[in-house]
Symmetry: C2
Subunit: 150 residues, 2 copies
DNA sequence: CGTTAATAGTTAAACAGTTGAACAGTTTAT
DNA sequence: ATAAACTGTTCAACTGTTTAACTATTAACG
């Protein structure tokens, strides 16, 4: 009986998480792609770098759960647009530090503002307590997912 | 004061939703890609078709929020693998019905079973009530996202 | 009826993102 | 000093995506 209940929850979770993910991505793309000429992944890369101040390819590969060569490709495209700066570490010359240029920072802040406005419009249509609990569970799920990798 | 609180919630939501999405996708890919030679999108396409029994390209394009040509490409790849059947509607010869072949159904059920086991292992690490509320909010969010398109 | 609209699906070019394997250059270990 | 490990890159091959042009078919309507 309880087993069946869990099976139902699992099923609902699979359905809805896929659907929400796709729809949210599409909406965010609409916001970002307006004039900024950025993709969703590129925005989240800028976001991470803005928060970290500076980071490496390996770090991004780990955070984004992709191979390093994938990061190189993304960084190359943004570097060509003048959004990112590469600086070799003089102490360990294998390492390349990635930082935002002024242009990159400006574009990031502009697109982030749009995304924030969008997400806000959804969040405020929820009950305050409800959304807090939702995000809390999201964060807990995130932690479990991180642990499950080790 | 309340404004600031909402801003913080929005920020946490953006961070965690991206992170969870990426991590979950990576984990599911691990399960699916084991030997089945399927991608995540291909699995979710099979999933939709299995539930619908039969569907069209346009229907998939609408559900997945992509252009029809993107669906054609996905369907082609799965058709080449012998997972999907195409049948012209004899009443309206523009329409092509898509159905799973036996091979497609078998592969779908096998991969779905793996995903279910994975998701179950996460869900059961939550408090029963907590996860129910979480999924409920997810479903509500999904509805809001659907509405926001119109 | 016949012309025009709209619809369903495909194709092709171009791009973003991804992996896997091979590679260069640079530490670190032993 | 040599081997092992690490950081990042390049390349080929692939999936997924959009845009635009196209085929074939059906619907609309004067």
């Amino acid at each position: 009986m309880r087993e069946k209940h869990i099976a139902e929850l699992v099923d609902r979770y699979i359905s809805v998480s896929f659907s929400v993910t796709k729809k949210a991505e599409a909406l965010i793309k609409e916001q970002i792609g307006n004039d900024g000429d950025l993709t969703n992944d590129q925005h989240y890369t800028l976001r991470y770098m803005h928060r970290a101040g500076s980071c490496t390819s390996s770090e991004l590969a780990e955070v984004f759960e992709v191979k390093k060569s994938a990061i190189t490709a993304i960084i190359n495209r943004m570097w060509e647009k003048g959004l990112i700066q590469r600086t070799r570490d003089e102490n360990d010359r294998r390492v390349v530090y990635l930082t935002l240029t002024d242009k990159g920072k400006e574009l990031y802040l502009k697109t982030e503002e749009r995304i924030t406005r969008l997400v806000k419009s959804f969040i405020t249509s929820f009950d305050q307590e409800e959304i807090e609990q939702f995000i809390k569970t999201y964060e807990k799920l995130n932690e479990i997912l991180i642990k499950s990798k080790n």
